[in-house]
Symmetry: C2
Subunit: 337 residues, 2 copies
């Protein structure tokens, strides 16, 4: 809170102008060597650090990226780590705001960061968000925007995401190959793009193999272990009981697993189970749960790279889409052959 050392302090102490100090510090060619030396010595001694606020105000850029995410669960924390790593190296500071899956907080966060605090956004929308005016507003102001993971379709921006359809395909193909015939899916909220795409892969694969998809086998529930547990209990009690379940997140897979165990059914024999995300936990439970790896860290890094590329004015970036391929890791929960 004490007054920071400024360029002015140095100038007064050395009896030269602030202009000269500024130039000396930036190693400008038109400053005498000994002046430079004196300035640098004193700036070191006083532990001078340039005031970034002043610079940002002057240059109209903050070198700060506003990252808006719905929460800090395993997947998103990993992605943020990836963003952080690349951004830091490129000289950017990252400002992370959690919307806590709330549309309202997402708007508040966006507004706040728009107060000239950041010069660009990296956004993953909350599951509650159905209206995208606040996102469009960012673009209206011609502020760079990159979307990742939970993207918004009808907005033209660089998008980095998983090939969610392929993830659904891989999981479903695998279950079918293992001889499961009645495969249910535990999906997320109906407006959640990533969920719908995974489901699309699932439906598509069923069709390819001539399998009917029972409507009662498609469950939308909140992105949450408890709901998944309840939903699975109902599924298992229904008259057309599925013999396999594909959940679009590992959290939900865990919930499903608990319900299956409680019912006294065995995996993979009675019920096959495949999750999504490949979180560390799935290999620790018994039985270990098969899961689709989404390379969250890579997605994070690619996102930051796309942002940087965009900032450097690569015109072609404007609505490029980078799609990361997922990979199914097969474990005991679904391997019965």
């Amino acid at each position: 809170m004490e007054k920071q050392t400024t360029i002015k302090d140095i100038a007064i102490a050395l009896n030269i102008s602030t202009s000269t100090v500024s130039r000396a510090l930036r190693d400008a060619p038109d400053v005498k060597a000994e002046t430079k030396a004196a300035v640098k010595a004193l700036s070191d001694k006083l532990d001078y650090q340039p005031n970034r606020l002043a610079l940002s105000l002057l240059n109209r850029q903050t070198n700060t990226i506003g990252v808006i995410i719905p929460n800090l669960d395993y997947v998103l924390a990993t992605m943020v780590k990836g963003i952080d790593e690349v951004a830091l190296e490129a000289g950017y500071t990252v400002m992370v705001c959690q919307s806590d899956e709330s549309y309202g907080r997402e708007i508040v966060n966006t507004k706040r960061l728009l107060d000239s605090l950041v010069d660009g956004f990296i956004v993953s929308v909350s599951s509650e968000t159905k209206i995208f005016e606040h996102i469009k507003k960012i673009q209206d102001k011609k502020i760079p925007l990159v979307l990742f993971d939970r993207i918004v379709n009808n907005i033209a921006a660089p998008k980095i995401r998983l090939d969610n359809i392929d993830g659904g395909v891989q999981a479903t193909e695998h279950l079918i190959e293992q001889g499961y015939k009645k495969i249910a899916i535990l999906a997320g909220p109906e407006n959640l793009n990533i969920s719908n795409k995974r489901m699309e892969g699932y439906l598509q694969t069923l069709k390819t193999h001539g399998l009917r998809s029972d409507k009662g086998h498609i469950i939308h529930c909140d992105f949450n272990q408890q709901y998944a547990y309840e939903a699975t209990k109902e599924l298992l009690a229904s008259k057309n009981r599925p013999d396999a379940i594909f959940t679009i997140s590992d959290r939900m897979a865990i919930g499903a697993m608990l319900a299956i165990k409680e019912k006294g059914l065995s995996m993979p024999h009675d019920i096959g189970l495949v999750g999504f995300n490949n979180e560390p936990i799935v290999s620790l439970v018994t039985p270990a749960i098969s899961s689709v790896e989404m390379y969250a860290f890579e997605i994070g890094k690619a996102t930051a790279r796309a942002y940087i590329e965009m900032m450097s004015g690569a015109a072609g970036m404007s609505d490029q889409e980078i799609i990361i391929k997922p990979k199914l890791f097969i474990r005991a929960s679904s391997k019965r052959r």
Copy 2:
């Protein structure tokens, strides 16, 4: 990236001075009602938002808190959520930087945020950090500082932390009560305060009950599942095999569990196991693992509150210590009576 609307734009459009616009927007008493109305109407129309950079520069405060944490694992992410919630409500913006458990990155992060970007710090030091000059530097500059979770002892600042000794006591008392006699501990790096305190509780309790602590039963290993797994394998192979293990994190407990299972030993019969953090995962594995809840979310909120109190000039805060009581949750891994 387009020019933001400024107070000047409004002033010119309405043919009044920027001063008047400024006052009108802040509802100053000495502005005619109709002028106010006109200013407000136009500012709404142009979507005016005050430039926080300019304000920060002027007022010498950013209303931004720099949060430096070692990583974004479950516990810290939860704490950050707590900080975020309280801070946001109080009008602060939070800037989270991960040091990634690296001393070097911690220093870089501190330096960056010191560039007048934040007007205070909330810090949890990395496990690698043994020198605290960068932390002291914050205080030398009279910048408010609050420490939480992984605190530093010889620095005078408000500290919010768990009663780690008590956590160790509760875990060990419970194991002893369950009839375990040879209790080993898997601790973290030797310089990590939270680890040492939990161990202190452990040692203290052993002593109280007249139990010797075998030196071979005290293992320091990295805060990491893999190391815990290896360490446990060695422990189980040693001639004086422990009959219970207390790990100072759940991650390590999981690692220990894997080693125990692999060895074909049963919990809680052959080996008792108690972890720390009470992460969701521990109730999902088989057997469910007993664990010490540390109320991370509460710690986060208390930390932010302490920060706010400090900023409002509460003098008594300067080195207050808020200590949260942990609570052991007993599960199958250690309940044999």
